[in-house]
């Protein structure tokens, strides 16, 4: 290769490597801010601030959803299988909100360690399958219910 081109190749490689390293270090330094939410274990351990709004992410504990009969108030527990946090929410929940499914809730922690949520987002996982396959995996028999939403 021509020496001038070789030099330019080195320069181009250097630009890519150095800028990657710089941005990599910035991302590493800001890693706590890039995370969208705190897992329940961090909240229980007191790593999340209590005086401002935070996001909490995890799985909705099976059998923990309690809905009010008179209004939209809902309480449920969010877990990462190490620790759990109670959540209170008043409002309409997304379609995919269900027990045993992922969720990201935003709100303020109260003194008792429970979260008063202002927003609840359902976190979808990466699994896609037809209803028949899902039913077969669960070992169910009988007619398959096709989801009717949308």
């Amino acid at each position: 290769m021509h020496p001038a081109r070789k030099q330019r190749l080195m320069l181009v490689s250097l630009v890519v490597v150095l800028s990657s390293a710089a941005i990599g270090l910035v991302a590493f330094a800001l890693r706590d801010n890039i995370n969208l939410f705190y897992p329940p274990a961090d909240v229980v351990a007191g790593k999340a601030p209590i005086d401002r709004s935070i996001r909490l992410g995890g799985m909705v504990v099976e059998g923990s959803i309690e809905r009010s009969d008179t209004d939209l108030d809902t309480t449920f527990w969010v877990t990462d299988y190490e620790a759990s946090v109670a959540v209170r929410y008043s409002g309409i929940l997304p379609d995919l909100f269900a027990e045993g499914e992922g969720v990201v809730v935003e709100g303020m922690l109260d003194k008792g360690g429970a979260l008063n949520a202002t927003q609840v987002l359902a976190k979808h996982d990466e699994n896609y399958m037809p209803p028949e396959v899902a039913a077969a995996l669960e070992g169910k028999s009988g007619p398959v219910q096709t989801p009717q939403s949308l």
């Binding site: 081109r5 320069l11 890693r31 969208l36 037809p130 209803p131 989801p147 939403s149």
Partner: protein, 245 residues
Amino acid sequence: MWTIIHKMGSPPWFFRFSGALVRWLLPLTIALLCVGAFWGLLIAPPDFRQGNSYRIIYIHVPAAVVALAGYYVMAFAGAVSLIWRIKMADVTMRAAAPVGAALTAIALFTGAIWGKPTWGAWWVWDARITSMLLLFFLYLGVVALFEAYENKTAAARACAVLSLIGTVNIPIIYKSVDWWYSLHQPASIKFMGESAIDSSMLYPLLLMIAAFYCLFVVAVLLNMRAEVLWRHRESGWIQQLVERA
């Protein structure tokens, strides 16, 4: 090998070669898009949790995949332009930028439409979505920077540096869902091991990804042909082409 590279650098040769390529690649692209869309939107089964709303995956994922791959095409053309000073590399870089921007916009837009019913929000500032927005601005930045210069050689050099620095964003987008806690789900298609998406839904998705790759190539080639025509509008070989037509 070297003769092909030298030929690619020659505008008249490129113009003839790309014309022949587009002539059969364009029908192939349209056929792939039609078959993929028909298979994905009508034949593939609904999802066990999302019902039919998941079908936006057949636009969203191919657009996002090709938007990421297209950035490498643009950055590689930028590197070739910087090192070897080949004019056709400048043309490739400039031609890929708006196509990549359009694909990124499609991915962001379809993601928002899907996010509202599925997550409960149009937009969330999570790592995947924010880094994808950055990609959109990088593409637009290359277009804007190129147009800001009167001297197109200087423009190409500045754009090449910008697009090379931007390459760091591509692995960040790709791995963002694994490195940080995000709302966006991890990848369903896995290069190793079994994919988390059922094969009856995966095959039309792979077909749509192939279709979008072809669409990208066709769109970039057409853009390049327009640019070559404009740059060489005064030269003899274009005059001959016009006279023959």
